[in-house]
């Protein structure tokens, strides 16, 4: 399958090629995982072990002290997690509720100029956040919504809606038309068909869209930096502030980072198969 396999394979036998593949996979695994191992490892090592040269990483030093300290002292982290969770959940739910019907209509319901509409929606994603930050700030300040979760929920729709529409539209395009025709013959209206036939077979791309939107919202930094102060501060802001404030307390910094990413990492791992399928069936067509 790879170039390597063809050229070497002909001369030196397939086993050498397999060995090459295994080495390459090994290199890739180390490259992907080494920074993460260090992230987790330094979160369970005390400061003294970390600032030794070289760092002392033997299991005898392992401790959960960093986590205890971080959870005990940084109330902002808990508040940030809660804010992130609320913001990400609501914005994802709204994006799905508005985006799924829109994606279906753009894929299937002969909406006039639907291609142009799709292109327009995707083009908005090329806009750097900074371009709309100031005007958004002014509008949101006028409504008195600075430092509220509602402001973030609304603003995050600007990238979540397009993501949801993009992934789902691609999938809907690929559904056999016969399915909907059959439903129509059986007397089901468009809305009923969408609800009873189309959505139930769209679980993988729906999952992919939900996970994608949730993760993007959980991780978003720029808008949160500009639109929140303290009450609505989300997790990335807490981590950035923490890193600035305690940048020499390495273990605690890493513990805070691990806590902040744990929920989305779990979500991503649990839904990994849906994500891959959702990408395959949604994004690559959309």
């Amino acid at each position: 399958m790879s170039a390597l396999r063809g050229r070497l394979g002909a001369r030196l036998g397939p086993w050498l090629c397999d060995a090459g593949v295994i080495v390459a996979i090994g290199v890739f695994v180390v490259w992907s995982i080494a920074p993460l191992v260090w992230l987790v490892l330094s979160s369970i090592l005390p400061q003294l072990s970390l600032i030794a040269r070289p760092p002392q990483i033997s299991p005898v030093h392992w401790t959960l002290d960093n986590y205890v300290t971080v959870i005990g002292s940084a109330a902002a982290l808990g508040q940030g997690m809660l804010n992130s969770f609320i913001v990400a959940s609501f914005t994802t739910a709204v994006a799905l509720a508005l985006g799924a019907p829109a994606a279906y209509a753009l894929a299937r319901l002969s909406v006039p100029r639907s291609d142009a509409v799709v292109l327009l929606i995707l083009a908005t994603q090329m806009l750097p956040a900074i371009a709309i930050a100031i005007p958004l700030f002014i509008v949101i300040a006028r409504f008195g919504l600075i430092d509220t979760r509602l402001a973030l929920i609304i603003v995050y729709l600007s990238f979540n809606l397009p993501i949801v529409i993009w992934i789902l539209r691609g999938f809907f395009l690929g559904i056999p038309v016969g399915l909907e025709r059959a439903a129509a013959v059986d007397g089901a209206g468009v809305i009923r068909t969408f609800w009873m036939i189309v959505l139930p077979i769209s679980v993988p791309p729906l999952c992919a869209a939900v996970v994608f939107a949730f993760i993007e919202s959980w991780n978003e930094f720029f808008f949160a930096l500009i639109l929140t102060r303290q009450n609505a501060e989300t997790v990335p802001l807490v981590i950035a502030a923490f890193a600035g404030q305690y940048q020499t307390v390495f273990g605690q910094m890493m513990a805070a980072a691990v806590i902040s990413i744990a929920p989305v990492i779990l979500l991503a791992i649990l839904s990994r198969n849906h994500i891959v399928r959702g990408f395959a069936e949604g994004m690559l067509k959309g």
């Binding site: 593949v21 709309i132 100031i134 930094f221 902040s260 990492i265 891959v276 395959a280």
Partner: protein
């Protein structure tokens, strides 16, 4: 519009020909009515959130804006903000940095991502656990990623120094982020590390859409491994590659969190990318008009590059033979 739509359309056109065009008029009209009802809410929300800011951003870029005593004083100055940028050394430096960063990122991420996807699609690489490896760096918040790498690259206690020293590659600890070009390159590598997984997933999905039978046919025709890659895999991935290149271009021009946490643009503005410059000009120097102009330059660059890449990577559209 035509060629850009290839991405949108190409994958699906084979299987999903225009929906129910043959079905009778009233049915079609009803579908259209419902369809418009389905699309409108989403479009209205997008227009409400983005419409005013986009227009406002275009206008701000044509104005001289001063913040004083909580009020904005604006003066119309036409294109001056843009022409001023060209004479501004920090803008030119940021532009050069961004071009280096963006090109490097697109090339590295696409090629490494493709390699990784091929490995994971290989018979020896098809383990679920390997896919988890792809998922995790993708899901990590850019900020958490930046914090992690700040610690890894730490000049005094960073693990990179410790590892390289114990392997004998360096003989004294290096201040990784202490020198402009090295800092920018490391920033690039950190972002590549973070970006490869998503693109690899995209390619993996693309690989799985290539019908097996094409490979068998290629073998029957006597194609060797390289030829199978060149004439079956690459064309089969054309859409995925286009999407990857376009997305990565857009994303690389928007990198902000990494610079904000890791270097704040230093040393000597060596890691100031356009997006960070726009932020700094707007929020630190409070020169809102100029910041908006920089932001619009980023938007224009993303848009033009996206169109350019789509044209380059989707040439078959104009050849009816294919």
């Amino acid at each position: 519009m035509g060629s850009s739509l290839t991405v949108v359309r190409a994958g699906a056109s084979a299987r999903a020909e225009p929906t129910g065009r043959s079905v009778s008029g009233t049915f079609e009209q009803r579908r259209r009515r419902v369809g418009i009802g389905f699309v409108l809410p989403a479009l209205l929300v997008l227009a409400a959130v983005l419409g005013f800011p986009i227009v406002q951003s275009l206008l701000l870029a044509m104005q001289h804006v001063r913040l004083a005593a909580g009020h904005m004083h604006v003066r119309w100055i036409g294109w001056e903000n843009y022409t001023d940028l060209l004479a501004d050394d920090s803008f030119v430096l940021a532009l050069a940095n961004s071009i280096f960063f963006s090109l490097g990122e697109v090339v590295l991420v696409t090629s490494i991502g493709l390699g990784a996807a091929l490995l994971l699609n290989h018979r020896l690489g098809r383990f679920g656990i390997l896919r988890v490896l792809l998922i995790v760096p993708w899901a990590i918040a850019p900020v958490a990623n930046a914090v992690l790498w700040k610690w890894i690259l730490n000049a005094n206690y960073g693990v990179l120094n410790a590892v390289l020293k114990s392997l004998g590659i360096i003989d004294h600890y290096v201040v990784w982020l202490g020198e402009p070009m090295r800092a920018l390159t490391l920033l690039l590598l950190v972002d590549v590390w973070k970006s490869v997984p998503f693109i690899a997933l995209l390619f993996l999905a693309g690989l799985q859409r290539i019908p097996r039978i094409l490979y068998r046919a290629a073998v029957l025709d006597g194609a060797n491994g390289w030829q199978r890659f060149r004439f079956v895999t690459l064309p089969g991935l054309r859409n995925a590659i286009t999407i990857a290149v376009v997305l990565q271009t857009i994303w690389s021009l928007r990198v902000f969190d990494l610079v904000f946490v890791l270097t704040r643009g230093g040393p000597a503005d060596g890691t100031v990318l356009l997006n960070f410059l726009a932020y700094r000009v707007t929020f630190n120097f409070l020169d809102i008009g100029s910041g908006a102009a920089i932001a619009n330059v980023i938007f224009a660059m993303s848009f033009l590059l996206a169109i350019l890449y789509i044209r380059l990577l989707q040439p078959t559209k104009r050849e009816p033979a294919s």
